[in-house]
């Protein structure tokens, strides 16, 4: 019902369903696997799936940014973090808290609440066929109404880079 509504693009729905299944499986593996490196590699799968969903949602520029920033840069940072904190090769015990079962009811109840609210609000709203947003429209938005936040973000990135160097430096 959810994945194949009528009068909408069936191929798009099938693609969405396949990617969504892979993403949910990979996300579940990230939080349950016993191997830290495997968790990082499953996270790559989730991030690539999110990028594919952005393309389905007509957001090409965001998808390319996602691939470059997350899969290119953030994953390298994570792998360096894993190596520098000397994670064991292979499966490792003690990755979970002693009371980790508490997370299951919290997650399930939160999902139930969110799903109820979403389905209540958007029952069978159909997103029509859309042309992709042109990237120049995005740049017009960023560089005129959102110019001040954009400059603020660049300062945040500068401060974060300097802060990371200061924190991680040996002295």
């Amino acid at each position: 019902m959810l994945l194949a509504a009528n009068d909408v693009n069936v191929a798009m729905n099938i693609g969405f369903g396949i990617i969504a299944t892979v993403m949910i499986f990979a996300a579940f593996s990230v939080v349950t696997t016993k191997n830290v490196v495997h968790a990082a590699l499953y996270l790559v799968l989730v991030l690539a799936g999110v990028a594919a969903q952005y393309i389905l949602a007509a957001a090409e520029f965001v998808a390319v940014s996602q691939v470059m920033v997350y899969i290119g840069a953030v994953m390298v940072l994570f792998l360096f973090g894993i190596m520098l904190t000397r994670a064991q090769i292979g499966a490792e015990d003690g990755l979970n808290n002693s009371g980790w079962q508490l997370g299951i009811p919290v997650g399930v109840i939160l999902f139930g609440l969110l799903a109820y609210v979403i389905i209540d609000a958007y029952e069978d709203d159909v997103i029509g066929e859309r042309q992709p947003f042109p990237t120049e429209e995005l740049s017009d938005q960023i560089l005129s109404p959102f110019l001040v936040p954009f400059l603020a973000v660049s300062f945040v990135l500068l401060a974060a880079a300097i802060g990371a160097i200061v924190l991680a430096r040996k002295d």
Partner: protein, 99 residues
């Protein structure tokens, strides 16, 4: 495509991320779970941009991506410092600040 598809997928990712933050003890894995949460929010923003035919959602998604990159950089630097001082990144052992 139904509007609820994207939103439900994002809700699933968000809840898995919340579970990871609660359940995991290794600081790097907690940071990965936070990435899951941020990606769920981004997916929502892009879906709302599509639903309302308004590109501002994508602008916000780009800002969130930039902030997430900064967050991971600082967070991993802190994890490295904790590891250097204590030879462990188990979060439940960091309890000196407890009153």
């Amino acid at each position: 495509m139904l509007a609820v598809n994207f939103l439900l997928l994002a809700a699933v990712l968000f809840c898995i991320g919340v579970f990871g933050v609660i359940a995991r003890r290794n600081a790097v894995l907690v940071l990965m779970s936070i990435e899951l949460i941020l990606n769920a929010v981004n997916l929502n923003l892009v879906a709302f941009a599509l639903m309302n035919n308004n590109i501002e959602g994508q602008v916000f998604a780009l800002f969130v991506i930039a902030i997430a990159a900064a967050e991971v950089g600082v967070g991993l630097a802190m994890v490295l410092m904790i590891y250097r001082n204590r030879k462990s990144i188990a979060l439940d052992e960091l309890s000196e600040m407890k009153g």
